[in-house]
Symmetry: C2
Subunit: 183 residues, 2 copies
């Protein structure tokens, strides 16, 4: 893994993308003892739909006064993809929701698509866990933290009653990536 | 108000300081149409107790590749105060919890103390809203967003059933500052 790895989660407001970013940062730092910075910047356009959150993970303290170079980007909506895929580094990756991003912007990166919202709705029964499915898929694709660390960080964030639901969602993220790679 | 204003919320993990930061950033951006960046950096020390979150608010896009200069810092615990008051700019302010920060670190800034946790426990009946009391007090002290914007942003984040509780907590933050100033 590179010395510094940056992941961007983008989509619509209310989709839990800040939470996904915080969980990933905590997996890297609190659980794996590495360094992480998690951030979101808001402009007046935050009033509209697109929203993003970013995580930088490194072995050393992150000197985040630095230009952003996105290794991997999630886009849950077409608007977010159009707006935030820009900035993915050559050789990076873009993960999109199959149903909501019909025209993923092309670039010098690999595009993966998973029906994230549909999986949340049909296989978990709760759209609210789409962010955890996406997080699982992102970790499966990037290996930026260990699978187990991500799961621990997810479970540390959710109330007792939602443990099983979130575990299922996280694992589905991994399964969908496996299917994608097999297909 | 300065062109760029930075607030740091620090305390122990689980005290809702990230949420306080996000709410403030949303008040400035989504509600007031300004720019904001909200971030947290985690090192391996995140495994221990102290935790912080930061918000930068400005009229223009925030070029946050820049050194941090903290205008105002909240510290809910002694450990957080010792660790994070460093960096408050000359003439800035440090707000501490009266009961948990017995020795606020001295510096070229004004120190205010409010019994934040005690107020949450005794006047609201829920320690969980301490972060919202602290947010109210911070906005009262700094005027970085309008009182009404902060309230709107708080209420946008909480489930229906907790609206009254959070409104009360937010308003208590303002009242405690008023008492402090009168005293």
């Amino acid at each position: 893994m590179a010395e510094r790895y940056e992941i961007r989660f983008s989509g619509a407001g209310g989709q839990g993308l800040i939470t996904a970013g915080i969980i990933l940062a905590e997996a890297a730092s609190i659980i794996e003892g590495r360094h992480a910075v998690q951030s979101q910047s808001y402009g007046p356009e935050a009033r509209g739909g697109a929203s993003k959150s970013e995580v930088i993970i490194g072995e050393d303290p992150i000197d985040y006064p630095k230009a952003t170079i996105v290794d991997a980007c999630l886009a849950m909506t077409q608007e977010a993809a159009d707006k935030y895929a820009v900035g993915i580094k050559p050789g990076g990756l873009l993960l999109v929701d199959t149903d909501f991003v019909k025209n993923p912007p092309k670039g010098d990166y690999t595009i993966y698509d998973i029906p994230i919202m549909r999986t949340a709705k049909l296989e978990v029964g709760r759209e609210i866990v789409a962010n955890v499915i996406a997080l699982g898929a992102m970790i499966a694709l990037t290996d930026v933290v260990k699978r187990e660390s991500g799961l621990q960080a997810v479970l540390a964030k959710v109330p007792e009653a939602f443990i099983e639901l979130n575990k299922k969602a996280y694992n589905l993220g991994f399964e969908k990536v496996k299917e994608l790679m097999a297909g």
